[in-house]
């Protein structure tokens, strides 16, 4: 981003953008906006767009987009959709991400398996995971093929991978659909098969994500779901590792190639002082050269629909086109446009824990989530009605 900002400042002499990297961006933008002194442009996570737009903290960009001639067709649909809420565009995509199965070819070879053939269905995944699991003489786990909660960032997403929906888009929470139940039954099968206590002890020994002790990079887990950024960490910490990336296995073969898509965005806070100038910069970032420079800097792919051949040719990640194709898959999903998503995702995580710790059946755990979140959604809908807002 620093380089792109510098390019923009050089490209014209009317505006100057100062890049201010901050930690905890969600809280800082929140406090600055509430205090009436927001930044001119905010770099946010897509997850914040709905919540901020709902609370009237962002400027709708529709008029600016019309004038600049930027349309949905310029972007990969899943990313554009993440910026649209209640019929308005509130932000524009910057660096995107999708997630894929990463596997350790060295461990495949050691287990006598074909290192070039990753699992394609959940059934194959389970079977391969079994062959890749190693215990010591006392039965203590020392290597696992796969663990559904490692790294644990997508515990909420398994139901989506199995084809379930989080809500009906209007007023009903639907996490008790059979697909979600099936997903959690699958999760529970790992707790049963390998022993929940054994697994807990084993996973507690994993090091930090961004370190050579990372469970995948240290060879403690042979297959893991991870994002397009994993390449950066592997090259930094374990450059000698032999690894591959492929679409995550799915319950049904026709779903193969789907993923979860996420992205960062640029938005203009409601009370920003120079909205015209702010959009000028955002428009610049949306041009193909600037966007590709930005995404190349992050070693990610581009959220734009059209990509220049030079971008692919010079990209260091050997699997970059895979991540791009995952984003374009029709079944690929992103965060739901729910204002209560933060709570909903945590509720799903609690259900996930109950299930893998064998403290509840998938049906029970999901029924609790549904009951609680339906209540929350009903309240939220009442609030929106009072304020004259539509739910999505």
């Amino acid at each position: 981003m620093i380089a792109v900002v510098a390019d923009f400042n050089k490209s014209q002499d009317r505006l100057h953008v100062t890049y201010l990297p901050v930690s905890n961006v969600e809280q800082k933008v929140l406090v600055a906006t509430a205090g009436g002194d927001p930044p001119d442009i905010a770099g946010l996570y897509a997850a914040q767009v709905v919540s901020y737009a709902d609370k009237n903290a962002l400027l709708p960009l529709d008029d600016y987009l019309a004038r600049a001639g930027i349309t949905a067709a310029d972007f990969i649909p899943v990313f554009w959709n993440e910026c649209v809420f209640r019929g308005h565009v509130w932000a524009l995509p910057t660096t995107p991400a999708t997630i894929a199965l990463h596997w350790n070819k060295g461990l495949f070879r050691k287990a006598g398996m074909d290192p070039e053939r990753p699992p394609k269905t959940i059934g194959e995944l389970d079977e391969m995971a079994d062959r890749l699991t190693i215990r010591d003489a006392s039965g203590h786990l020392i290597q696992m093929g796969f663990i559904p909660w490692e790294p644990g960032w997508w515990n909420w997403a398994w139901g989506r991978f199995f084809g379930g929906r989080l809500w009906d888009g209007e007023s009903k929470i639907t996490c008790d659909e059979p697909e979600f139940v099936a997903a959690l039954q699958w999760v529970q099968s790992y707790g049963r098969k390998y022993g929940k206590d054994q697994l807990q002890v084993f996973t507690s020994g994993f090091g930090n994500f961004a370190s050579p002790q990372n469970a995948f990079m240290a060879g403690k887990v042979a297959m893991e779901i991870q994002g397009v950024w994993m390449y950066n960490f592997i090259t930094q910490y374990t450059p000698k590792m032999e690894w591959g990336a492929a679409p995550f296995p799915t319950a049904k073969p026709e779903q193969y190639g789907m993923s979860d898509a996420d992205l960062d965005v640029l938005a203009i806070p409601r009370d920003a002082r120079h909205p015209e100038e702010s959009f000028e910069f955002i428009k610049y970032v949306m041009t193909r050269p600037a966007m590709e420079k930005l995404c190349m800097g992050h070693r990610k792919f581009s959220p734009l629909a059209k990509v220049s051949p030079a971008f692919w040719a010079s990209h260091p990640n050997p699997y970059i086109r895979l991540f791009d194709s995952l984003a374009r898959h029709p079944l690929t999903f992103a965060l739901p446009h729910l204002t209560i998503w933060q709570e909903y995702s945590e509720e799903l995580s609690v259900a996930f824990q109950k299930v893998y710790l064998l403290e509840a059946s998938p049906e029970e755990a999901l029924a609790t989530v549904k009951a609680r979140m339906q209540k929350r959604l009903d309240r939220e809908l009442r609030r929106m009605k009072r304020l004259g807002l539509s739910p999505a």
């Binding site: 929140l30 906006t33 609370k55 903290a57 807990q200 002890v201 933060q342 609690v350 609680r372």
Partner: protein
């Protein structure tokens, strides 16, 4: 001295002094007003509003309180907090009282041991929490390494639905250094004549402790009880870092749910309502404790 006769002069001097006094305490008064009194008052107002920080507060009457009554997680967090308090507070007090008594009796190396027991209280909460996370770690933890010597396989303490709460309570004993010092000071306040008198009456050590020491340090025990109640009901930093409320919300405490509502779900009005409920609970418990202990607390000279 007759104040009436000297009224004019003294009131002039008084007013001037008053002005100076106000000037000198102004920094504190202003700070108190801006950073304490104002937030306290508006938080009461917000507790009756729907307030997301980003949008203007909207008055909804008792809506937040009604929703709280119907919020399972609110009750879970309250129950967890009381469960924690019910063990952490009495055990912590007995533990620190016991250690203080031992330090008091044993004259050899008192200063050294006092320093050793007090040291952990100087460690910042976050550092302490992270050290204990490693102690409780299932694979590499010191605790499990110790159990292994006895041929036992320990749990992943903080990730275990049953053990996570006891682990946090146990960890709390690490921080009793402050109470030990206060108890120790209290022990040393007890007049020697009292013990001598008790000895002449043929009292045993235990009788002396129970009949002389405890009543005489009861105001200090009471003080520890009150500050303890306030402290344990607000427990936040260590569990927030160590377990994040997990597993399965078994260690989700009241202040953590309050924080989540305020800063993660952007439901500031709801969080303010929770804060006021906690305040009233602490107030009520303190009053009850005061009432009950009135019979047992003996102030010297009264």
């Amino acid at each position: 001295m007759s104040p009436v006769a000297r009224e004019p002069l003294s009131s002039r001097v008084g007013r001037a002094e008053f002005r100076w006094a106000m000037l000198f305490i102004a920094p504190w008064i202003i700070g108190f007003g801006v950073f304490l009194a104002y937030p306290v008052v508006v938080s009461l107002f917000y507790s009756f509003c729907e307030y997301s920080v980003l949008a203007k507060p909207v008055w909804i009457g008792a809506g937040n309180f009604r929703d709280l009554a119907d919020d399972d997680v609110f009750w879970i967090s309250l129950w967890n907090t009381f469960r924690f308090a019910a063990f952490a507070l009495p055990l912590g007090m007995i533990f620190s009282l016991g250690l203080a008594a031992m330090l008091h009796i044993c004259a050899i190396g008192r200063a050294t041991f006092r320093a050793i027991f007090f040291l952990p209280s100087l460690v910042p909460v976050v550092a302490n929490a992270i050290v204990w996370m490693w102690m409780f770690n299932g694979e590499y933890g010191l605790l499990n390494a110790g159990l292994k010597v006895f041929g036992q396989q320990g749990a992943n303490w903080l990730g275990d639905p049953f053990w996570s709460m006891p682990a946090l309570i146990f960890m709390g004993f690490w921080g009793v250094g402050g109470s030990i010092i206060i108890f120790l000071a209290a022990f040393q306040e007890v007049p020697v004549e009292m013990y001598e008198a008790a000895e002449l009456d043929g009292a045993s050590s235990w009788q002396k402790f129970w009949g002389v020491t405890v009543p005489l340090i009861s105001p200090v025990i009471f003080f520890q009880l009150i500050t303890g109640i306030i402290g344990v009901l607000q427990v936040f930093a260590a569990p927030y870092i160590m377990t994040g409320g997990g597993p399965m919300r078994r260690t989700l405490f009241y202040s953590m749910y309050l924080y989540d509502n305020a800063f993660r779900y952007l439901r500031m009005g709801y969080a303010c309502a929770m804060a006021w409920i906690l305040f009233l609970l602490i107030l009520a418990l303190t009053l009850v404790a005061t009432k009950i202990s009135a019979r047992y607390v003996h102030y010297q000279g009264s």
